[in-house]
């Protein structure tokens, strides 16, 4: 049970939040090509190291925010509100 640093609630058990995965910028739906769109939908960097990812403070303040997490160690750092 890792601790996720919520910008409002302080460190919280990860079970109180939902991880929505690595941050992937959404292309402009009106102009995006199918291949750009499907890269957004499916392709992920999936690094073994630092990744920027989004969490939703589901049982707490209901804020979406991003943090950096090292997927090799589960160490977390930095945070900002989306």
């Amino acid at each position: 049970m890792i601790l996720v640093p919520c910008p409002n609630c302080g460190p919280r058990n990860s079970s109180d939040l939902r991880n929505t995965g690595e941050v992937v910028p959404r292309p402009d739906a009106a102009t995006a090509s199918l291949s750009e769109w499907r890269s957004y939908l499916y392709l992920r960097d999936n690094p073994a190291g630092w990744v920027t990812e989004t969490w939703y403070c589901r049982s707490g303040c209901r804020t979406y925010f991003t943090i950096e997490r090292n997927t090799a160690t589960n160490e977390v750092r930095g945070l900002e509100r989306t």
């Binding site: 079970s15 392709l43 960097d45 999936n46 997927t71």
Partner: protein
């Protein structure tokens, strides 16, 4: 099977018992060559099976299997060893049925007892919609000649008396998908069987050899990698190897290896956890799976219960395991079998799964010439190992994608033709 192998038999056991003579090595420690026709990255079940079938079915023996650790150290040695073919989609059924056929004859094919135990596989349904999905699977299975049917709670109880089939539980058992040919195999033995057989046919098994980079030329990306390029070899922790064909069989680490060739994947890496109890006298004759409760369980010949669950929700390369996995697991197992509440959990572990958006693998050629993938296995890799090896070998040897894996190509993510296995895959064991 063997060109120069040492055959195992009851007679040899007797002879060694009497003479107390040493057994030969199961596989040799080869001297690494500078170049191979095919380099397979990943010394697990898939990599070893691919090497074996390349040598056996296609006579391609100048092959190296490289692994950063020991053989079978990844998912091959950490899974819960369940085999079955009662999938949802026709393409899935055909593929896994071939795998089950190969498992059936594996002990004699590889001259190693892999302890296939076709003890029957039950997928429990606790809701109307789960029962509907079970019926869907059973009906597809029957049309493809797979022994699979939906049975009622009384029949479930008859097959597995330890299950609580009373109707007043939070998750009543409304029925089950029963698949008599499903069962379990000694997973490590499968790895060793392929390793030993491949070694005997001349394949080089290079352990403790980590791939640091894939060398490419002519591609769109930096260093000649990426679409349009072609593979020239691999750089390893023990030196460079040149090879026109490099195959990625690295499961949880697939993205990292694939990025070395400039081929991004629709994969995220998640741990899949498992646990085992202390032994108790044997009472569980079948493999029991509950999708709604995210649990599967079987009992080993030593009396231990082996449990698995669905993948962890948070992607990570860390395999430390979590407490919440064991808590939820225990709660759910006891819903099914309240009588075992005093059994004790002895060990938990986890392996890395390469999850794809449609719960189906990514197999075959890529946009980089000579770079092939056999990845995206998620939680299904063990069941598929033999057929994946066979079809990847065919694809490499013939230069055209084997029919059985035609729907698993990497291009489906750009063309939007995902495979419909997801419906059945909430827990797929």
């Amino acid at each position: 099977m063997s060109r120069h192998g040492y055959r195992y038999s009851a007679g040899k056991l007797l002879k060694h018992g009497v003479t107390r003579g040493d057994w030969p090595r199961m596989w040799s420690k080869p001297e690494r060559r500078d170049s191979y026709d095919v380099v397979i990255v990943g010394g697990g079940l898939h990599g070893l099976a691919t090497a074996y079938y390349l040598a056996k079915n296609h006579g391609i023996t100048n092959v190296a299997v490289v692994d950063k650790g020991y053989l079978g150290g990844g998912g091959s040695g950490r899974n819960t060893a369940i085999v079955r073919s009662n999938y949802l989609t026709p393409e899935g059924v055909a593929f896994y049925d071939r795998s089950l056929q190969l498992y059936n004859t594996m002990a004699s094919d590889l001259n190693l007892n892999v302890m296939l135990s076709r003890r029957g596989h039950l997928t429990l349904a606790h809701t109307d919609s789960a029962l509907r999905t079970m019926t869907w699977r059973a009906e597809v299975n029957k049309l493809l000649d797979i022994d699979s049917s939906v049975i009622d709670p009384e029949e479930v109880k008859r097959l597995t008396p330890s299950l609580d089939v009373s109707s007043d539980t939070r998750y009543p058992i409304l029925g089950a998908l029963y698949h008599p040919p499903g069962g379990i195999v000694r997973h490590d033995a499968v790895v060793w069987g392929y390793a030993r057989a491949a070694d005997h046919l001349g394949v080089h098994l290079l352990q403790d050899t980590e791939v640091l980079d894939i060398s490419c030329s002519g591609g769109d990306g930096p260093d000649g990698k990426g679409p349009g390029g072609r593979v020239t070899g691999v750089r390893t922790s023990r030196g460079d190897i040149s090879a026109p064909v490099v195959v990625n069989c690295t499961a949880g680490w697939a993205s990292l290896i694939s990025n070395m060739a400039g081929v991004p994947l629709a994969i995220t890496t998640h741990p899949l956890q498992a646990a085992v109890t202390e032994p108790c006298k044997v009472f569980l004759p079948t493999v029991v799976v509950s999708g709604s409760l995210h649990v599967y369980v079987s009992q080993t010949d030593r009396g231990e219960l082996v449990f698995g669950a669905s993948v962890d929700p948070i992607g990570t390369y860390r395999v430390n395991g979590t407490l919440e996995f064991t808590e939820e697991l225990a709660g759910h197992v006891l819903e099914l079998m309240p009588g075992i509440s005093k059994m004790r959990l002895m060990r938990q572990w986890s392996g890395l799964c390469d999850m794809t958006p449609d719960y189906s693998p990514i197999m075959g050629f890529t946009a980089v010439d000579g770079y092939l993938v056999d990845v995206g296995w998620g939680t299904y890799g063990f069941k598929a190992g033999p057929v994946a090896g066979e079809t990847m070998a065919e694809t490499i040897a013939t230069g055209r994608t084997a029919d059985l894996i035609a729907s698993f190509g990497i291009e489906r993510f750009t063309e939007g033709d995902l495979v419909g296995e997801k419906g059945a895959a909430a827990v797929g064991h």
